[in-house]
Amino acid sequence: MTPDTSRPAVSPFRSRSWFSLSLGIIIVAVFVLCAALAPALSRWVGYGPFDQVTPRSVIPPTPPDRDHPLGTDSLGRDLLVRLAHGARISLAVGVLAEIMALLIGVGVGALAGYAGGRADALLMRLTDLVFAFPAPLLALAVLAAVPDPESAAILKHLPQPSVGVVFLVLGCIGWAGIARLVRAEFLKIRELEFAQAARAIGARGARVVARHLLPNTLGPLVVAATLGVGGNILVEAWLSFLGVGARPPLPSWGTMVTEGQAYFLARPWVCVAPGLAIFAVVLGFNLLGDGVGALLDPRRRSAPA
Protein backbone atom coordinates (compact mmCIF):
# COMPACT_ATOMS: atom_id res chain seq x y z
CA MET A 1 0.00 0.00 0.00
CA THR A 2 1.30 3.41 -0.92
CA PRO A 3 1.77 5.72 2.05
CA ASP A 4 -0.33 8.82 1.93
CA THR A 5 2.25 11.52 1.48
CA SER A 6 -0.11 14.48 1.74
CA ARG A 7 -0.35 14.23 5.54
CA PRO A 8 2.12 14.07 8.36
CA ALA A 9 3.09 10.44 8.72
CA VAL A 10 2.20 9.74 12.32
CA SER A 11 -0.26 12.14 13.87
CA PRO A 12 -3.88 11.25 13.01
CA PHE A 13 -3.69 7.52 13.00
CA ARG A 14 -1.56 6.98 16.00
CA SER A 15 -3.83 9.02 18.22
CA ARG A 16 -6.85 7.18 16.90
CA SER A 17 -5.43 3.74 17.60
CA TRP A 18 -4.63 4.79 21.15
CA PHE A 19 -8.14 6.16 21.48
CA SER A 20 -9.65 2.85 20.27
CA LEU A 21 -7.42 0.87 22.55
CA SER A 22 -8.06 2.82 25.73
CA LEU A 23 -11.80 3.15 25.16
CA GLY A 24 -11.98 -0.56 24.37
CA ILE A 25 -10.08 -1.49 27.52
CA ILE A 26 -12.33 0.72 29.66
CA ILE A 27 -15.57 -0.68 28.23
CA VAL A 28 -14.47 -4.30 28.47
CA ALA A 29 -13.16 -3.75 32.00
CA VAL A 30 -16.47 -2.23 33.10
CA PHE A 31 -18.40 -5.25 31.84
CA VAL A 32 -15.95 -7.74 33.35
CA LEU A 33 -16.38 -5.89 36.63
CA CYS A 34 -20.17 -6.05 36.29
CA ALA A 35 -20.00 -9.80 35.70
CA ALA A 36 -17.64 -10.31 38.65
CA LEU A 37 -19.67 -8.16 41.02
CA ALA A 38 -23.15 -9.39 40.02
CA PRO A 39 -23.51 -11.84 42.94
CA ALA A 40 -22.23 -9.20 45.36
CA LEU A 41 -24.75 -6.72 43.93
CA SER A 42 -27.53 -9.25 44.50
CA ARG A 43 -26.45 -9.80 48.11
CA TRP A 44 -26.24 -6.07 48.70
CA VAL A 45 -29.68 -5.16 47.31
CA GLY A 46 -31.18 -8.36 48.71
CA TYR A 47 -32.62 -9.94 45.54
CA GLY A 48 -31.35 -12.00 42.65
CA PRO A 49 -32.08 -12.00 38.91
CA PHE A 50 -35.11 -14.30 39.32
CA ASP A 51 -36.87 -12.56 42.24
CA GLN A 52 -39.98 -10.45 41.93
CA VAL A 53 -39.26 -7.11 43.58
CA THR A 54 -42.35 -5.07 42.78
CA PRO A 55 -45.10 -4.88 45.43
CA ARG A 56 -48.23 -6.91 44.72
CA SER A 57 -50.28 -3.75 44.32
CA VAL A 58 -48.60 -2.63 41.08
CA ILE A 59 -48.56 -4.25 37.68
CA PRO A 60 -45.05 -4.65 36.29
CA PRO A 61 -43.13 -3.67 34.24
CA THR A 62 -42.55 -0.53 36.27
CA PRO A 63 -40.53 2.34 34.82
CA PRO A 64 -37.12 3.30 36.23
CA ASP A 65 -37.30 4.85 39.73
CA ARG A 66 -35.06 5.33 42.76
CA ASP A 67 -35.10 1.73 43.95
CA HIS A 68 -34.80 0.22 40.47
CA PRO A 69 -32.68 2.55 38.32
CA LEU A 70 -33.47 0.63 35.10
CA GLY A 71 -37.02 -0.33 36.03
CA THR A 72 -38.46 -3.83 36.19
CA ASP A 73 -39.59 -6.34 33.58
CA SER A 74 -43.02 -7.88 33.08
CA LEU A 75 -42.46 -10.34 35.94
CA GLY A 76 -41.37 -7.56 38.27
CA ARG A 77 -37.69 -8.51 38.27
CA ASP A 78 -35.12 -5.75 38.69
CA LEU A 79 -33.55 -5.02 35.30
CA LEU A 80 -30.23 -3.75 36.62
CA VAL A 81 -29.63 -6.94 38.59
CA ARG A 82 -30.66 -9.06 35.62
CA LEU A 83 -28.40 -7.03 33.35
CA ALA A 84 -25.41 -7.54 35.65
CA HIS A 85 -26.03 -11.28 35.81
CA GLY A 86 -26.52 -11.30 32.03
CA ALA A 87 -22.98 -9.99 31.62
CA ARG A 88 -21.77 -13.28 33.08
CA ILE A 89 -23.63 -15.25 30.38
CA SER A 90 -22.48 -13.02 27.51
CA LEU A 91 -18.85 -12.93 28.55
CA ALA A 92 -18.75 -16.64 29.37
CA VAL A 93 -20.22 -17.66 26.02
CA GLY A 94 -18.09 -15.17 24.09
CA VAL A 95 -14.81 -16.13 25.75
CA LEU A 96 -15.37 -19.90 26.04
CA ALA A 97 -16.51 -20.21 22.43
CA GLU A 98 -13.46 -18.25 21.33
CA ILE A 99 -11.13 -20.46 23.40
CA MET A 100 -12.65 -23.50 21.74
CA ALA A 101 -12.31 -21.92 18.29
CA LEU A 102 -8.68 -21.07 19.11
CA LEU A 103 -7.88 -24.62 20.22
CA ILE A 104 -9.28 -26.15 17.04
CA GLY A 105 -8.15 -23.35 14.73
CA VAL A 106 -4.58 -23.15 16.00
CA GLY A 107 -4.28 -26.93 15.92
CA VAL A 108 -5.54 -27.23 12.35
CA GLY A 109 -3.71 -24.14 11.10
CA ALA A 110 -0.39 -25.07 12.71
CA LEU A 111 -0.52 -28.63 11.43
CA ALA A 112 -1.40 -27.49 7.91
CA GLY A 113 1.12 -24.67 7.84
CA TYR A 114 4.00 -26.66 9.29
CA ALA A 115 3.44 -30.05 7.70
CA GLY A 116 2.51 -28.74 4.25
CA GLY A 117 1.92 -31.16 1.40
CA ARG A 118 -0.99 -33.57 1.58
CA ALA A 119 -2.00 -32.80 5.18
CA ASP A 120 -2.08 -29.11 4.30
CA ALA A 121 -4.25 -29.66 1.23
CA LEU A 122 -6.68 -31.86 3.13
CA LEU A 123 -6.96 -29.63 6.20
CA MET A 124 -7.38 -26.50 4.12
CA ARG A 125 -10.08 -28.16 2.04
CA LEU A 126 -11.91 -28.81 5.32
CA THR A 127 -11.29 -25.26 6.51
CA ASP A 128 -12.61 -23.79 3.26
CA LEU A 129 -15.68 -25.94 3.67
CA VAL A 130 -16.40 -24.65 7.18
CA PHE A 131 -15.56 -21.11 6.08
CA ALA A 132 -18.07 -21.27 3.24
CA PHE A 133 -20.97 -21.90 5.63
CA PRO A 134 -23.08 -18.96 6.68
CA ALA A 135 -22.10 -19.58 10.32
CA PRO A 136 -24.96 -17.84 12.16
CA LEU A 137 -27.59 -19.60 10.05
CA LEU A 138 -25.97 -22.97 10.62
CA ALA A 139 -25.86 -22.34 14.36
CA LEU A 140 -29.55 -21.42 14.19
CA ALA A 141 -30.43 -24.64 12.37
CA VAL A 142 -28.43 -26.82 14.73
CA LEU A 143 -29.70 -25.14 17.90
CA ALA A 144 -33.31 -25.22 16.71
CA ALA A 145 -33.01 -28.99 16.43
CA VAL A 146 -31.72 -29.53 19.97
CA PRO A 147 -35.14 -29.83 21.60
CA ASP A 148 -34.34 -29.20 25.20
CA PRO A 149 -30.69 -29.19 26.19
CA GLU A 150 -31.59 -29.86 29.83
CA SER A 151 -32.56 -33.42 29.00
CA ALA A 152 -29.91 -34.28 26.41
CA ALA A 153 -27.53 -36.94 27.72
CA ILE A 154 -24.25 -35.20 26.92
CA LEU A 155 -25.33 -31.70 27.90
CA LYS A 156 -27.18 -32.07 31.17
CA HIS A 157 -23.99 -32.08 33.23
CA LEU A 158 -23.10 -28.58 32.07
CA PRO A 159 -24.02 -25.89 34.61
CA GLN A 160 -26.41 -24.22 32.15
CA PRO A 161 -27.20 -26.64 29.32
CA SER A 162 -28.95 -24.14 27.04
CA VAL A 163 -26.00 -21.74 27.28
CA GLY A 164 -23.45 -24.55 27.09
CA VAL A 165 -24.78 -25.82 23.81
CA VAL A 166 -24.57 -22.32 22.31
CA PHE A 167 -20.90 -21.99 23.14
CA LEU A 168 -20.13 -25.49 21.85
CA VAL A 169 -21.83 -24.75 18.52
CA LEU A 170 -20.19 -21.32 18.15
CA GLY A 171 -16.79 -22.80 18.97
CA CYS A 172 -17.20 -25.61 16.45
CA ILE A 173 -18.14 -23.17 13.68
CA GLY A 174 -15.81 -20.29 14.46
CA TRP A 175 -12.38 -21.88 14.07
CA ALA A 176 -11.96 -21.69 10.28
CA GLY A 177 -10.82 -18.08 10.22
CA ILE A 178 -8.26 -18.75 12.96
CA ALA A 179 -6.93 -21.80 11.12
CA ARG A 180 -6.45 -19.77 7.93
CA LEU A 181 -4.70 -17.03 9.84
CA VAL A 182 -2.28 -19.36 11.63
CA ARG A 183 -1.48 -21.25 8.43
CA ALA A 184 -0.82 -18.05 6.50
CA GLU A 185 1.49 -16.76 9.25
CA PHE A 186 3.31 -20.10 9.41
CA LEU A 187 3.89 -20.10 5.65
CA LYS A 188 5.41 -16.64 5.98
CA ILE A 189 7.81 -17.47 8.80
CA ARG A 190 8.59 -21.17 8.71
CA GLU A 191 11.51 -20.75 6.29
CA LEU A 192 12.96 -17.71 8.05
CA GLU A 193 16.42 -18.08 9.60
CA PHE A 194 15.31 -18.53 13.19
CA ALA A 195 13.05 -21.45 12.29
CA GLN A 196 15.73 -23.01 10.09
CA ALA A 197 18.25 -22.57 12.89
CA ALA A 198 15.96 -24.31 15.37
CA ARG A 199 15.57 -27.23 13.01
CA ALA A 200 19.31 -27.28 12.26
CA ILE A 201 20.20 -27.81 15.90
CA GLY A 202 17.83 -30.75 15.96
CA ALA A 203 14.61 -29.42 17.49
CA ARG A 204 11.62 -31.66 16.85
CA GLY A 205 8.69 -30.39 14.81
CA ALA A 206 6.40 -29.95 17.80
CA ARG A 207 9.05 -27.91 19.59
CA VAL A 208 9.69 -25.69 16.57
CA VAL A 209 5.97 -25.04 16.30
CA ALA A 210 5.36 -24.41 19.99
CA ARG A 211 8.51 -22.49 20.89
CA HIS A 212 9.43 -20.69 17.70
CA LEU A 213 6.54 -20.38 15.27
CA LEU A 214 3.47 -19.95 17.48
CA PRO A 215 4.89 -17.10 19.60
CA ASN A 216 5.49 -15.20 16.37
CA THR A 217 1.84 -15.49 15.33
CA LEU A 218 0.60 -14.30 18.71
CA GLY A 219 -0.06 -10.70 17.63
CA PRO A 220 -2.54 -11.40 14.82
CA LEU A 221 -4.07 -14.19 16.93
CA VAL A 222 -4.79 -11.86 19.82
CA VAL A 223 -6.46 -9.40 17.45
CA ALA A 224 -8.56 -12.12 15.79
CA ALA A 225 -9.55 -13.62 19.14
CA THR A 226 -10.58 -10.26 20.61
CA LEU A 227 -12.76 -9.47 17.59
CA GLY A 228 -14.02 -13.04 17.76
CA VAL A 229 -15.23 -12.66 21.35
CA GLY A 230 -17.28 -9.63 20.29
CA GLY A 231 -18.69 -11.54 17.34
CA ASN A 232 -19.62 -14.49 19.55
CA ILE A 233 -21.43 -12.25 22.01
CA LEU A 234 -23.38 -10.68 19.15
CA VAL A 235 -24.36 -14.07 17.70
CA GLU A 236 -25.31 -15.41 21.15
CA ALA A 237 -27.59 -12.42 21.69
CA TRP A 238 -29.08 -12.91 18.24
CA LEU A 239 -29.71 -16.63 18.87
CA SER A 240 -31.23 -15.96 22.28
CA PHE A 241 -33.41 -13.22 20.77
CA LEU A 242 -34.72 -15.71 18.20
CA GLY A 243 -35.48 -18.19 20.98
CA VAL A 244 -32.85 -20.89 20.44
CA GLY A 245 -30.07 -19.70 22.75
CA ALA A 246 -30.27 -19.22 26.51
CA ARG A 247 -33.72 -20.23 27.74
CA PRO A 248 -35.88 -18.15 30.08
CA PRO A 249 -35.66 -17.40 32.93
CA LEU A 250 -31.90 -17.00 32.35
CA PRO A 251 -31.07 -13.29 32.13
CA SER A 252 -29.32 -13.47 28.73
CA TRP A 253 -29.44 -10.03 27.14
CA GLY A 254 -30.90 -11.37 23.89
CA THR A 255 -33.67 -13.18 25.79
CA MET A 256 -34.38 -10.02 27.78
CA VAL A 257 -34.92 -8.06 24.54
CA THR A 258 -37.34 -10.76 23.33
CA GLU A 259 -39.26 -10.63 26.60
CA GLY A 260 -39.63 -6.88 26.33
CA GLN A 261 -40.58 -6.95 22.67
CA ALA A 262 -44.23 -7.90 23.28
CA TYR A 263 -45.06 -4.62 25.03
CA PHE A 264 -42.11 -2.71 23.65
CA LEU A 265 -43.83 0.38 22.23
CA ALA A 266 -45.65 1.11 25.50
CA ARG A 267 -42.81 0.13 27.87
CA PRO A 268 -39.58 0.54 25.93
CA TRP A 269 -37.17 0.50 28.89
CA VAL A 270 -37.36 -3.27 29.16
CA CYS A 271 -35.75 -3.61 25.71
CA VAL A 272 -33.56 -0.52 25.66
CA ALA A 273 -31.19 -1.47 28.49
CA PRO A 274 -30.22 -5.03 27.47
CA GLY A 275 -29.82 -4.02 23.81
CA LEU A 276 -27.61 -1.13 24.78
CA ALA A 277 -25.53 -3.50 26.90
CA ILE A 278 -25.04 -5.89 23.95
CA PHE A 279 -24.03 -3.00 21.72
CA ALA A 280 -21.63 -1.53 24.28
CA VAL A 281 -19.80 -4.72 25.15
CA VAL A 282 -19.39 -5.76 21.50
CA LEU A 283 -18.22 -2.23 20.68
CA GLY A 284 -15.69 -2.55 23.49
CA PHE A 285 -14.23 -5.77 22.11
CA ASN A 286 -14.17 -4.41 18.56
CA LEU A 287 -12.38 -1.22 19.62
CA LEU A 288 -9.93 -3.26 21.66
CA GLY A 289 -9.23 -5.60 18.75
CA ASP A 290 -8.84 -2.73 16.26
CA GLY A 291 -6.60 -0.84 18.66
CA VAL A 292 -4.33 -3.80 19.33
CA GLY A 293 -4.21 -4.56 15.61
CA ALA A 294 -3.18 -1.01 14.77
CA LEU A 295 -0.48 -1.02 17.44
CA LEU A 296 0.96 -4.33 16.31
CA ASP A 297 0.96 -3.54 12.60
CA PRO A 298 3.93 -1.27 11.88
CA ARG A 299 2.61 -0.34 8.42
CA ARG A 300 -0.65 0.93 9.81
CA ARG A 301 1.10 3.19 12.24
CA SER A 302 2.24 5.52 9.51
CA ALA A 303 -0.23 5.01 6.68
CA PRO A 304 -3.97 5.34 7.03
CA ALA A 305 -5.58 1.97 6.45
Partner: protein, 326 residues
Amino acid sequence: MTTYLVRRLLGLAPVLLAAATIVWIFVFLVPGDPARLIAGGQGLDPAVLESVRAEWGLDDPAPVQYLRYLGKLLRGDLGVSYIQRRPVVAIIREHFPPTFILAVSAVLLASAGGILLGSLAASRTGGLTDRLVLLLAVVGASMPVFWLGLMLMLLFAARLAWLPVLGYGMEGAVLPLIGVRLPELDHLVLPAVTLSLVLMGSIARLTRTGLIAVGASEYLLTASAKGASSARVFALHALKNALIPVVTIIGLDFASLLGGAVATEYVFAWPGLGKTIVRAIALKDLPVVEGCVLFLTAVCVLVNLAVDLLYVWLDPRVHYGGAAAA
Protein backbone atom coordinates in the same frame (compact mmCIF):
# COMPACT_ATOMS: atom_id res chain seq x y z
CA MET B 1 -13.37 -18.64 -18.05
CA THR B 2 -15.74 -21.51 -18.77
CA THR B 3 -13.43 -24.07 -17.18
CA TYR B 4 -13.10 -21.82 -14.16
CA LEU B 5 -16.85 -21.47 -13.89
CA VAL B 6 -17.38 -25.22 -14.15
CA ARG B 7 -14.70 -25.89 -11.56
CA ARG B 8 -16.22 -23.38 -9.17
CA LEU B 9 -19.72 -24.78 -9.63
CA LEU B 10 -18.40 -28.28 -8.91
CA GLY B 11 -16.65 -26.90 -5.84
CA LEU B 12 -20.04 -25.89 -4.45
CA ALA B 13 -21.17 -29.50 -4.26
CA PRO B 14 -19.18 -30.53 -1.15
CA VAL B 15 -20.29 -27.41 0.74
CA LEU B 16 -23.93 -28.07 0.02
CA LEU B 17 -23.56 -31.78 0.74
CA ALA B 18 -21.92 -31.04 4.10
CA ALA B 19 -24.62 -28.52 5.00
CA ALA B 20 -27.32 -31.00 4.01
CA THR B 21 -25.68 -33.75 6.07
CA ILE B 22 -25.37 -31.60 9.18
CA VAL B 23 -28.96 -30.52 8.82
CA TRP B 24 -30.10 -34.11 8.35
CA ILE B 25 -28.19 -35.29 11.41
CA PHE B 26 -29.81 -32.64 13.53
CA VAL B 27 -33.33 -32.96 12.19
CA PHE B 28 -33.70 -36.70 11.98
CA LEU B 29 -31.15 -38.24 14.32
CA VAL B 30 -30.64 -36.03 17.35
CA PRO B 31 -34.05 -34.82 18.55
CA GLY B 32 -36.09 -37.38 20.40
CA ASP B 33 -38.76 -38.65 18.08
CA PRO B 34 -40.06 -36.79 15.02
CA ALA B 35 -43.09 -39.08 15.00
CA ARG B 36 -44.21 -37.54 18.28
CA LEU B 37 -43.89 -34.05 16.83
CA ILE B 38 -45.88 -35.03 13.75
CA ALA B 39 -48.58 -36.86 15.69
CA GLY B 40 -48.97 -33.89 18.04
CA GLY B 41 -51.74 -34.45 20.57
CA GLN B 42 -52.31 -38.01 19.40
CA GLY B 43 -48.69 -38.90 20.09
CA LEU B 44 -49.52 -40.86 23.25
CA ASP B 45 -51.26 -43.58 21.28
CA PRO B 46 -48.66 -46.20 20.19
CA ALA B 47 -50.78 -47.24 17.22
CA VAL B 48 -50.87 -43.67 15.91
CA LEU B 49 -47.10 -43.32 16.37
CA GLU B 50 -46.60 -46.58 14.50
CA SER B 51 -48.67 -45.47 11.53
CA VAL B 52 -46.95 -42.07 11.47
CA ARG B 53 -43.55 -43.76 11.41
CA ALA B 54 -44.60 -46.00 8.54
CA GLU B 55 -46.15 -43.12 6.61
CA TRP B 56 -43.11 -40.82 6.96
CA GLY B 57 -40.55 -43.61 6.54
CA LEU B 58 -39.17 -43.07 10.04
CA ASP B 59 -38.82 -46.79 10.82
CA ASP B 60 -36.17 -47.41 8.16
CA PRO B 61 -32.52 -47.68 9.23
CA ALA B 62 -30.69 -44.33 9.41
CA PRO B 63 -28.47 -44.84 6.30
CA VAL B 64 -31.55 -45.64 4.21
CA GLN B 65 -33.28 -42.52 5.50
CA TYR B 66 -30.16 -40.47 4.78
CA LEU B 67 -29.85 -41.66 1.19
CA ARG B 68 -33.54 -41.16 0.60
CA TYR B 69 -33.21 -37.63 1.99
CA LEU B 70 -30.29 -36.86 -0.34
CA GLY B 71 -32.19 -38.29 -3.28
CA LYS B 72 -35.14 -36.07 -2.49
CA LEU B 73 -32.85 -33.05 -2.16
CA LEU B 74 -31.43 -33.69 -5.62
CA ARG B 75 -34.95 -33.65 -6.98
CA GLY B 76 -35.57 -30.34 -5.18
CA ASP B 77 -37.72 -31.87 -2.45
CA LEU B 78 -37.03 -30.39 0.98
CA GLY B 79 -39.63 -32.42 2.83
CA VAL B 80 -43.05 -31.57 4.19
CA SER B 81 -43.91 -29.20 7.02
CA TYR B 82 -45.07 -31.02 10.17
CA ILE B 83 -47.55 -28.26 10.91
CA GLN B 84 -48.70 -26.88 7.58
CA ARG B 85 -48.65 -30.31 5.89
CA ARG B 86 -47.41 -28.84 2.62
CA PRO B 87 -44.04 -29.05 0.87
CA VAL B 88 -41.28 -26.87 2.31
CA VAL B 89 -40.42 -25.85 -1.25
CA ALA B 90 -43.87 -24.29 -1.64
CA ILE B 91 -43.35 -22.38 1.63
CA ILE B 92 -39.97 -21.13 0.42
CA ARG B 93 -41.43 -20.08 -2.92
CA GLU B 94 -44.09 -18.07 -1.13
CA HIS B 95 -41.80 -16.37 1.40
CA PHE B 96 -38.56 -15.90 -0.52
CA PRO B 97 -39.65 -12.84 -2.60
CA PRO B 98 -40.12 -10.56 0.45
CA THR B 99 -36.72 -11.64 1.80
CA PHE B 100 -35.14 -11.06 -1.60
CA ILE B 101 -36.69 -7.59 -1.90
CA LEU B 102 -35.57 -6.68 1.62
CA ALA B 103 -32.01 -7.98 1.14
CA VAL B 104 -31.55 -6.32 -2.26
CA SER B 105 -32.91 -2.99 -0.99
CA ALA B 106 -30.58 -3.18 2.00
CA VAL B 107 -27.53 -3.97 -0.15
CA LEU B 108 -28.38 -1.12 -2.54
CA LEU B 109 -28.90 1.34 0.31
CA ALA B 110 -25.73 0.21 2.05
CA SER B 111 -23.68 0.45 -1.15
CA ALA B 112 -25.00 3.88 -2.07
CA GLY B 113 -24.56 5.24 1.44
CA GLY B 114 -21.27 3.46 2.06
CA ILE B 115 -19.65 4.53 -1.21
CA LEU B 116 -20.79 8.12 -0.71
CA LEU B 117 -19.53 8.26 2.87
CA GLY B 118 -16.32 6.45 1.98
CA SER B 119 -15.61 8.89 -0.87
CA LEU B 120 -16.25 11.85 1.40
CA ALA B 121 -13.94 10.39 4.02
CA ALA B 122 -11.19 9.68 1.49
CA SER B 123 -11.37 13.19 0.07
CA ARG B 124 -10.02 14.53 3.35
CA THR B 125 -8.38 11.85 5.43
CA GLY B 126 -8.06 12.75 9.07
CA GLY B 127 -10.91 15.24 8.90
CA LEU B 128 -14.11 15.18 10.89
CA THR B 129 -16.11 13.28 8.22
CA ASP B 130 -13.31 10.77 8.05
CA ARG B 131 -13.38 10.14 11.76
CA LEU B 132 -17.17 9.86 11.80
CA VAL B 133 -17.08 7.33 8.95
CA LEU B 134 -14.53 5.19 10.76
CA LEU B 135 -16.65 5.42 13.90
CA LEU B 136 -19.74 4.40 11.91
CA ALA B 137 -17.87 1.34 10.65
CA VAL B 138 -17.07 0.02 14.12
CA VAL B 139 -20.52 0.98 15.45
CA GLY B 140 -22.17 -0.88 12.56
CA ALA B 141 -20.10 -3.97 13.26
CA SER B 142 -21.08 -3.91 16.95
CA MET B 143 -24.79 -3.23 16.57
CA PRO B 144 -27.31 -5.96 17.36
CA VAL B 145 -29.56 -5.58 14.29
CA PHE B 146 -32.72 -6.71 16.03
CA TRP B 147 -32.31 -4.05 18.71
CA LEU B 148 -31.49 -1.33 16.19
CA GLY B 149 -34.71 -2.26 14.38
CA LEU B 150 -36.71 -1.90 17.60
CA MET B 151 -35.13 1.48 18.36
CA LEU B 152 -35.80 2.84 14.85
CA MET B 153 -39.35 1.54 15.11
CA LEU B 154 -39.79 3.28 18.44
CA LEU B 155 -38.49 6.58 17.11
CA PHE B 156 -39.81 6.82 13.54
CA ALA B 157 -42.96 4.72 13.72
CA ALA B 158 -44.25 5.08 17.28
CA ARG B 159 -43.03 8.49 18.49
CA LEU B 160 -42.78 10.48 15.25
CA ALA B 161 -45.38 8.40 13.36
CA TRP B 162 -43.64 9.06 10.04
CA LEU B 163 -43.65 5.42 8.96
CA PRO B 164 -45.81 2.35 9.58
CA VAL B 165 -44.78 0.24 12.57
CA LEU B 166 -44.64 -3.15 10.91
CA GLY B 167 -45.90 -5.42 8.16
CA TYR B 168 -45.61 -5.56 4.42
CA GLY B 169 -48.60 -3.49 3.37
CA MET B 170 -51.51 -5.02 1.49
CA GLU B 171 -51.81 -2.51 -1.35
CA GLY B 172 -48.50 -3.14 -3.11
CA ALA B 173 -48.50 -3.78 -6.85
CA VAL B 174 -48.35 -7.37 -8.06
CA LEU B 175 -45.60 -8.06 -10.56
CA PRO B 176 -47.00 -9.58 -13.73
CA LEU B 177 -45.76 -13.00 -14.90
CA ILE B 178 -44.24 -14.12 -11.59
CA GLY B 179 -47.16 -12.99 -9.45
CA VAL B 180 -45.02 -11.52 -6.67
CA ARG B 181 -46.61 -8.83 -4.56
CA LEU B 182 -44.35 -5.86 -3.92
CA PRO B 183 -44.30 -4.26 -0.49
CA GLU B 184 -45.66 -0.79 0.01
CA LEU B 185 -42.72 1.55 -0.13
CA ASP B 186 -43.29 3.14 3.27
CA HIS B 187 -43.39 -0.32 4.85
CA LEU B 188 -40.07 -1.17 3.24
CA VAL B 189 -38.18 1.88 4.53
CA LEU B 190 -37.55 0.93 8.17
CA PRO B 191 -36.59 -2.74 7.67
CA ALA B 192 -34.35 -1.91 4.71
CA VAL B 193 -32.59 0.94 6.52
CA THR B 194 -32.12 -1.24 9.61
CA LEU B 195 -30.57 -4.04 7.62
CA SER B 196 -28.46 -1.71 5.47
CA LEU B 197 -26.72 -0.25 8.51
CA VAL B 198 -25.07 -3.65 9.10
CA LEU B 199 -23.12 -3.30 5.89
CA MET B 200 -22.89 0.44 5.36
CA GLY B 201 -20.08 1.06 7.82
CA SER B 202 -17.76 -1.60 6.47
CA ILE B 203 -18.51 -0.60 2.86
CA ALA B 204 -17.69 3.02 3.72
CA ARG B 205 -14.44 2.01 5.38
CA LEU B 206 -13.34 -0.19 2.50
CA THR B 207 -14.27 2.42 -0.13
CA ARG B 208 -12.17 4.88 1.79
CA THR B 209 -9.18 2.52 2.05
CA GLY B 210 -9.52 1.58 -1.62
CA LEU B 211 -9.72 5.18 -2.80
CA ILE B 212 -6.67 6.15 -0.74
CA ALA B 213 -4.77 3.18 -2.15
CA VAL B 214 -5.57 3.94 -5.79
CA GLY B 215 -5.33 7.68 -5.22
CA ALA B 216 -1.57 7.61 -5.59
CA SER B 217 -1.54 5.22 -8.55
CA GLU B 218 0.09 6.30 -11.75
CA TYR B 219 -2.78 5.41 -14.01
CA LEU B 220 -4.86 8.13 -12.35
CA LEU B 221 -2.08 10.60 -13.04
CA THR B 222 -1.97 9.36 -16.62
CA ALA B 223 -5.70 9.83 -17.02
CA SER B 224 -5.53 13.37 -15.61
CA ALA B 225 -2.52 14.16 -17.79
CA LYS B 226 -4.44 13.08 -20.87
CA GLY B 227 -7.00 15.74 -20.02
CA ALA B 228 -9.81 13.77 -18.40
CA SER B 229 -11.96 15.87 -16.10
CA SER B 230 -11.58 15.19 -12.40
CA ALA B 231 -15.13 13.85 -12.20
CA ARG B 232 -14.33 11.42 -15.00
CA VAL B 233 -11.09 10.35 -13.36
CA PHE B 234 -12.90 9.79 -10.08
CA ALA B 235 -15.86 7.83 -11.41
CA LEU B 236 -14.25 5.87 -14.21
CA HIS B 237 -10.78 5.24 -12.93
CA ALA B 238 -10.59 5.65 -9.19
CA LEU B 239 -13.99 4.54 -7.98
CA LYS B 240 -14.23 1.50 -10.23
CA ASN B 241 -11.02 0.12 -8.78
CA ALA B 242 -11.87 1.11 -5.25
CA LEU B 243 -15.11 -0.83 -5.63
CA ILE B 244 -13.39 -4.19 -5.75
CA PRO B 245 -13.07 -4.51 -1.97
CA VAL B 246 -16.64 -3.29 -1.62
CA VAL B 247 -17.86 -6.19 -3.71
CA THR B 248 -15.74 -8.49 -1.56
CA ILE B 249 -17.30 -7.28 1.65
CA ILE B 250 -20.79 -7.88 0.28
CA GLY B 251 -19.74 -11.46 -0.40
CA LEU B 252 -17.97 -11.93 2.94
CA ASP B 253 -20.71 -10.30 4.98
CA PHE B 254 -23.59 -11.88 3.10
CA ALA B 255 -24.01 -14.51 5.81
CA SER B 256 -24.34 -11.81 8.48
CA LEU B 257 -26.70 -9.95 6.17
CA LEU B 258 -28.96 -13.01 5.96
CA GLY B 259 -28.71 -13.48 9.73
CA GLY B 260 -29.63 -9.83 10.15
CA ALA B 261 -32.51 -10.28 7.71
CA VAL B 262 -33.92 -13.09 9.85
CA ALA B 263 -33.94 -10.85 12.93
CA THR B 264 -35.17 -7.78 11.01
CA GLU B 265 -38.07 -9.70 9.50
CA TYR B 266 -39.02 -11.01 12.92
CA VAL B 267 -38.95 -7.51 14.44
CA PHE B 268 -40.92 -5.86 11.64
CA ALA B 269 -43.27 -8.80 10.95
CA TRP B 270 -41.95 -8.91 7.39
CA PRO B 271 -43.48 -11.97 5.71
CA GLY B 272 -40.19 -13.44 4.45
CA LEU B 273 -38.16 -16.56 5.11
CA GLY B 274 -36.69 -15.16 8.33
CA LYS B 275 -40.07 -14.71 9.97
CA THR B 276 -41.07 -18.13 8.66
CA ILE B 277 -37.98 -19.66 10.27
CA VAL B 278 -38.57 -18.02 13.65
CA ARG B 279 -42.22 -19.08 13.65
CA ALA B 280 -41.24 -22.62 12.69
CA ILE B 281 -38.71 -22.70 15.55
CA ALA B 282 -41.43 -21.77 18.00
CA LEU B 283 -43.73 -24.47 16.59
CA LYS B 284 -40.89 -27.05 16.41
CA ASP B 285 -41.61 -27.43 12.70
CA LEU B 286 -38.11 -28.73 11.95
CA PRO B 287 -38.40 -29.50 8.22
CA VAL B 288 -39.32 -25.87 7.61
CA VAL B 289 -36.45 -24.53 9.75
CA GLU B 290 -33.88 -26.80 8.17
CA GLY B 291 -35.22 -26.49 4.63
CA CYS B 292 -35.18 -22.68 4.77
CA VAL B 293 -31.70 -22.63 6.31
CA LEU B 294 -30.40 -25.02 3.67
CA PHE B 295 -31.93 -22.84 0.98
CA LEU B 296 -30.36 -19.69 2.45
CA THR B 297 -27.00 -21.50 2.68
CA ALA B 298 -27.22 -22.25 -1.03
CA VAL B 299 -28.11 -18.61 -1.75
CA CYS B 300 -25.15 -17.46 0.31
CA VAL B 301 -22.71 -19.79 -1.45
CA LEU B 302 -24.01 -18.71 -4.88
CA VAL B 303 -23.71 -15.03 -3.98
CA ASN B 304 -20.08 -15.62 -3.06
CA LEU B 305 -19.50 -17.28 -6.41
CA ALA B 306 -21.14 -14.33 -8.17
CA VAL B 307 -18.88 -11.97 -6.22
CA ASP B 308 -15.79 -13.83 -7.42
CA LEU B 309 -17.01 -13.60 -10.98
CA LEU B 310 -17.67 -9.87 -10.62
CA TYR B 311 -13.94 -9.41 -9.99
CA VAL B 312 -13.19 -10.40 -13.55
CA TRP B 313 -15.39 -7.62 -14.77
CA LEU B 314 -14.22 -5.02 -12.26
CA ASP B 315 -10.51 -5.69 -12.15
CA PRO B 316 -8.71 -5.79 -15.51
CA ARG B 317 -5.75 -7.52 -13.88
CA VAL B 318 -7.72 -10.60 -12.86
CA HIS B 319 -8.37 -13.29 -15.42
CA TYR B 320 -9.41 -16.81 -14.65
CA GLY B 321 -8.19 -19.72 -16.74
CA GLY B 322 -7.87 -19.05 -20.48
CA ALA B 323 -4.92 -17.59 -22.33
CA ALA B 324 -5.87 -14.02 -21.55
CA ALA B 325 -3.90 -14.16 -18.31
CA ALA B 326 -0.90 -11.92 -18.71
